[in-house]
C-alpha cells in the first residue's frame, strides 16, 4: 500500500517536472505564433495569447515579393549545401571509418578545428575575396561557406554511424554469390541510409540557422535568406518594425523544421550525440 502511494507520489512529481520542461521548450514558440496572429488592434495589448486571431500578417508576407524570394533562396541554398556536403562527407567518412591511410588523424583534427572556427574571422576575408571573383551576393557565395561548416559535422556524424555498421555482412553476401554492387545495394546501403538521412537533417538545420554569412555576404534579395531578410523588413526605427510580419515569417521558417525534428526525434538525438561523447 505505502509502496503504491510512493510510486503515485513519484509519478505526480515527475509529471510536474515534465510540465516545467514543456513550458520551457514551448513558451517562446507559442508567443511568436500568438504575435503573428494578432491584428493591428490587439498587437500592443501585451497579452500572451491573442484575443481575436487573424491571418492578416500571413497574407501580407505571402504577397511580399522580397519574402517569397528569400524563402526560395533559403530552401534552394540549404538543399544544395546539404546535398553537396553529404556526398563529400559520406566519401570522407567512409574512408575514415573503414580504411587505413596516412593523414587520417590530421583530417579528423582539421574538421574539429573548423567546427570550432569563429565564422566572423572568415567573414572579412571572404567578403573581399567574393567581391573580387564575383561570388558576392550569389547562391554559390553562400553555399561554399555552408558546405565548409557542414562538412565537419557531416564527417563526424557519418563516420560514427559507419563504424556501427556490421561490414562483415558485405563479405558474407559476396560469399553467397552476390556481386559487389548487389552486396552494396542490398546489404550495405539499407544499413547506411538511416545514418545518412539523420546527418542530412542535422546539416540542413545548421545551414537553415545561419545568419552571419547570410547578412554579410549578400546585399540584395538575390541570395538573401529568410533569417537575414527578416532583419531587413522595413521600418526605420525599432518601434516601426512590422512586428506581426516578422513574427509570421518566423513562424513560417520554424514550424516545418520543428515538425520534422519531432517526427525524427530518436534519430536526431542519436545523431547529435554520436559524434561527441564516446571519445
Amino acid at each position: 500500500m505505502s509502496a503504491q502511494t510512493e510510486t503515485t507520489g513519484k509519478k505526480v512529481g515527475w509529471t510536474a517536472v515534465n510540465i516545467l520542461v514543456l513550458l520551457y521548450a514551448f513558451i517562446p514558440v507559442v508567443w511568436i505564433i500568438s504575435l503573428s496572429v494578432k491584428g493591428d488592434d490587439t498587437l500592443n495589448d501585451g497579452n500572451f495569447l491573442p484575443r481575436n486571431p487573424t491571418s492578416e500578417a500571413y497574407t501580407t508576407i505571402f504577397n511580399n515579393a522580397d519574402f517569397l524570394r528569400a524563402l526560395g533562396n533559403s530552401i534552394g541554398i540549404c538543399l544544395i549545401s546539404t546535398f553537396v556536403a553529404l556526398v563529400l562527407g559520406t566519401m570522407a567518412a567512409y574512408a575514415i571509418a573503414r580504411l587505413d591511410f596516412p593523414g587520417k588523424t590530421a583530417i579528423v583534427a582539421m574538421s574539429l578545428l573548423i567546427s570550432m572556427f569563429p565564422q566572423i574571422a572568415l567573414v572579412t576575408p571572404l567578403f573581399k575575396i567574393e567581391t573580387a571573383i564575383g561570388l558576392f551576393d550569389t547562391w554559390p557565395g553562400l553555399i561554399l561557406p555552408y558546405i565548409t561548416f557542414a562538412l565537419p559535422l557531416g564527417i563526424y556524424t557519418l563516420s560514427a554511424f559507419f563504424r556501427e555498421i556490421p561490414w562483415e555482412l558485405e563479405k558474407a553476401a559476396k560469399m553467397d554469390g552476390a556481386t559487389p554492387y548487389q552486396a552494396f545495394r542490398k546489404v550495405i546501403a539499407p544499413l547506411a541510409m538511416p545514418g545518412v538521412f539523420t546527418t542530412a537533417i542535422l546539416v540542413f538545420i545548421a545551414c537553415w540557422n545561419d545568419f552571419l554569412f547570410a547578412i554579410s555576404l549578400t546585399s540584395t534579395n538575390r541570395a538573401r535568406t529568410v533569417p537575414a531578410a527578416m532583419s531587413y523588413f522595413t521600418g526605420a526605427t525599432t518601434f516601426e518594425k512590422p512586428t506581426a510580419a516578422i513574427a509570421a515569417a518566423a513562424v513560417v521558417i520554424t514550424i516545418p523544421i520543428v515538425i520534422f525534428v519531432l517526427l525524427f526525434q530518436r534519430r536526431i538525438v542519436a545523431g547529435l550525440t554520436s559524434g561527441a561523447v564516446k571519445g
Binding site: 513519484k10 517536472v17 515534465n18 520542461v21 521548450a25 514551448f26 517562446p28 514558440v29 511568436i32 504575435l35 498587437l43 501585451g46 563529400l88 570522407a92 567512409y94 574512408a95 575514415i96 580504411l99 587505413d100 591511410f101 596516412p102 583530417i107 579528423v108 582539421m110 572556427f117 569563429p118 566572423i120 572568415l122 567573414v123 572579412t124 576575408p125 571572404l126 567578403f127 573581399k128 575575396i129 561554399l144 558546405i147 565548409t148 562538412l151 538545420i205 537553415w208 552571419l212 547578412i215 533569417p227 527578416m230 525599432t238 512586428t243 513574427a247 521558417i253 520554424t254 520543428v258 525534428v261 519531432l262 526525434q265 538525438v269 550525440t273 559524434g275 561527441a276 561523447v277 571519445g279
Partner: protein, 310 residues
C-alpha cells in the same frame, strides 16, 4: 652441410614472407590511395574556404585597407593591431563577450545537467520530454531572438509591461544570456544524457545500499564517470558562446555597450568598410579561440571527439 640446408630453408621462407608482404603492402597501398582519394574533395573544400581566407586575413591585417579607397592600400606593419588593442571599444566588446561566455556556459552546464537527469530518469512521458526538449534546438536562433525581443519590448511584450529593459546595458545583457541559454541547454543536455547512459546502474544501487545519499551518488559516482562528456560539452559550448552574434544583433544590435567581438568586427567591415581593421579583429578572435581551446585541452585534458576511436 646441415647448416646450408637450414640456410636455404630460411631463404625460401623469407621469399614466401616477402611475396606475402608485397601483396599485403600492395593491398595496403591501394587502400591508402583510395582513402586519400575519398577524403580529397572534402579536404580541398575545407582548406579553400577556411585556411586560405584566414591567411589572407593575416596578410590584410598588416595593411591600411579601406573599401571606400581601394587603391590607397598601404603597408602599416603592426599599426592596425596597435589601433585595435588600444581601442576601448574593442576591450569593452572583449569583456562583454567573455562575460557572456562564462555566465551562459555555466548556466547551461547546470541547467543542461538538470534537464539531462530529467530526460534520463523520468518515469512518465519520457518520449514526450525528450521530444519537446529538442524544440529550442530546432528553432532558428534569429527567430528565437525576435521572440525574446518582442516579449521584452515595451507595449508589445507580455514580459515587458511598462519597462523597456532592452534600452539599458545590464538588463539587455541578461536577456541576451537568457536567449543564448534557452537555445543551447537542450544540446548540452543531450551530450550529458549520452554520458549518463554509460553510468552503470548497479554501481549506483550498490552505493545506495551502502547509505550514500542521492547528492553523494551524483558527485562521487556520476560526475567522475561522465567527466569526459562534461568536458567535451563545455569546450564546445565555450567556443560557440564566444562567437555570439545572432542574438545580440537582433536583441540590441550592440547598443548600450552590449557588443560582442563578433558584432564589433562585423560593424567595422560592413558598416565601416574598413577591411584592415576588420581583418585584424578577425585574426585576434581566431587567436583567442585557439588559446581557449588549447588551455582546455592542456588543463582539463578534454579529449577531442573522435580521438581514441579511429
Amino acid at each position: 652441410m646441415s647448416t646450408t640446408v637450414a640456410k636455404q630453408d630460411v631463404t625460401k621462407q623469407d621469399e614466401g614472407v616477402d611475396i606475402a608482404k608485397r601483396r599485403a603492402s600492395e593491398g595496403k597501398r591501394a587502400e591508402q590511395k583510395l582513402g586519400m582519394l575519398l577524403c580529397a574533395p572534402a579536404v580541398v573544400v575545407m582548406l579553400a574556404v577556411t585556411a586560405y581566407p584566414i591567411l589572407y586575413a593575416i596578410y590584410l591585417s598588416f595593411f591600411k585597407a579601406d573599401l571606400r579607397t581601394p587603391d590607397a592600400n598601404e603597408f602599416v606593419g603592426l599599426g592596425n593591431y596597435i589601433t585595435v588593442l588600444s581601442s576601448p571599444i574593442w576591450w569593452s566588446a572583449f569583456g562583454i563577450t567573455m562575460f557572456i561566455t562564462v555566465v551562459s556556459t555555466s548556466l547551461e552546464l547546470a541547467l543542461g545537467m538538470l534537464l539531462a537527469i530529467v530526460m534520463h530518469r523520468t518515469i512518465v512521458g519520457r518520449g514526450l520530454v525528450r521530444t519537446s526538449a529538442l524544440v529550442p534546438y530546432a528553432i532558428v536562433t534569429v527567430v528565437a531572438a525576435f521572440s525574446w525581443r518582442f516579449a521584452w519590448t515595451q507595449g508589445i511584450g507580455w514580459l515587458a509591461g511598462d519597462s523597456a529593459p532592452l534600452t539599458e546595458k545590464w538588463p539587455s545583457l541578461w536577456i541576451i544570456i537568457l536567449a543564448e541559454v534557452w537555445k543551447t541547454v537542450p544540446f548540452m543536455a543531450l551530450l550529458l544524457m549520452a554520458g549518463l547512459a554509460l553510468v552503470p546502474e548497479d554501481l549506483l544501487k550498490a552505493a545506495s545500499m551502502d547509505g550514500a545519499t542521492a547528492w553523494q551518488r551524483f558527485w562521487k559516482i556520476t560526475v567522475p564517470l561522465i567527466k569526459p562528456a562534461i568536458l567535451v560539452a563545455v569546450l564546445f559550448r565555450t567556443l560557440d558562446a564566444f562567437r555570439i552574434f545572432d542574438n545580440i544583433y537582433v536583441l540590441t544590435s550592440g547598443a548600450n555597450d552590449t557588443s560582442s567581438v563578433s558584432i564589433v568586427a562585423y560593424n567595422n567591415l560592413i558598416r565601416g568598410l574598413n577591411l584592415g581593421i576588420g581583418s585584424t579583429m578577425a585574426v585576434l578572435i581566431f587567436i583567442t579561440i585557439a588559446i581557449i581551446a588549447f588551455l582546455f585541452i592542456k588543463l582539463f585534458g578534454a579529449a577531442a571527439p573522435g580521438q581514441g576511436r579511429s
